[in-house]
Symmetry: C2
Subunit: 278 residues, 2 copies
Amino acid sequence: MKIEKEHLCHGGRLLYCSHDSQATKTSMRFSVFLPPQATKGDVPYILFLSGLTCTEDNFTTKANAYQNAAKQGVAIIAPDTSPRGDDVANDDAYDLGQGAGFYINATQEPWDAHFQMEDYIIKDLLPLVEGELPLLPRKSITGHSMGGHGALTLYFKYPSLFQSCSAFSPIVAPSQVPWGHKAFRAYLGDDQAEWQNHDACALVSKAQDASDNAPILIDQGKADDFLEGQLKSHLFADACQNAGQALTMRMHDGYDHSYFFIQSFMDDHIDWHVGYLS
Amino acid sequence: MKIEKEHLCHGGRLLYCSHDSQATKTSMRFSVFLPPQATKGDVPYILFLSGLTCTEDNFTTKANAYQNAAKQGVAIIAPDTSPRGDDVANDDAYDLGQGAGFYINATQEPWDAHFQMEDYIIKDLLPLVEGELPLLPRKSITGHSMGGHGALTLYFKYPSLFQSCSAFSPIVAPSQVPWGHKAFRAYLGDDQAEWQNHDACALVSKAQDASDNAPILIDQGKADDFLEGQLKSHLFADACQNAGQALTMRMHDGYDHSYFFIQSFMDDHIDWHVGYLS
């Protein structure tokens, strides 16, 4: 792990890091905020997964997360959204290829060579940061849009790994919306039964003991241009109710899909997770 | 004035605006945050002037200002740092031309045609926003780096206009540092006596009744790579002491020149100004 840049921020350390990933066979980047409390001992952390087109920088510069993270004594890790590089497959569209990894392992050519983002997060990134940084293994997961899909699906796929889960404006049913159709067909192929293994609504429906999970917090703007066509958050509310998964879904008048929305409710998500991490 | 984009943020309205400036003879851009209280009546505002290379977007996305502005009921205006366009003079360097207007009126060709940033701020922008937005005429001024120079110099040039002044990492003595030499020679010519009219250290030294001014707040990172060569904040501390200008200058161990520094102390600056605006 190489520290590329470091800034002092709200009394904590903000690091931009790179490392070689076995899963993606590329160099990967992420940011980490270590609160002041990390100088005295290991701290719990929150993993934030970003949305389409984002790098590790969008959350880091725009989400207003570090003031409250410093106050609460929680670290935050924000990885890039895909492998990148001239040797990595790509697509001209913003919603496929580099910047659009969808936090799954691709099985189809040419994507399977590097787009192994689920393994990257679970097998490479988390062990790396827990081994090299002053972090407890206690962690929670959140994310935005495509990263909200990542947070929800990884929470259900690895039920013992995360203490709690939340999301901003998540894609909750990729099997039922254009963004998901396009990405899953490219990365996973045409077998829609396989898609269900990476769809938050499908995963919660077949989860063992969903009623034992911590409640999930979702914030969604009602003026979000993607709500009707791509996000369809009501599908997840229905699926959680049927599965017995506790859910706090807040629908906010006037808020859109941007980081101005995310920053407006970021403190609440940090407080929410700290309640389960402490 | 045209609203180009609008986002709800912390319960307030964040607008990106454009308008035609008589001073610069170009279209100019700025952002404005209107706190929730502005729906009930006019509110005071803070003018934030950005640094070299910035547009109106850097502060707007990175400074973490709006949570506290919403709480305190104060608006914030963040203009672009220069005129822009294919017909506007420019330089390949980052510290001259577009993105580097220095908040002064150029007298030298080719810059004098459009680089009239002092007149732009004072004669175009402030009357515009006070006329078209729910703002009181009560306002304060702050800024970062080149924008800190802008805040300090405009505060001394127009002593009745602003209730209070603060700065992050300001250029305090442009007549004595490379950034200022280069810009002032290009925009103002070789007469260094004229430069003194746009130099915060010189202006406070000749200010009438500086002891009647509100105290000035300056935050400066001690790990700022520009501190020694370009900022020289101690020169302003000395000049204020000699002139009787009250100054709170805080030197912060470990902090650099970035927006991660600015965001760390933004709440303090908003609180500081609100104390004079209320």
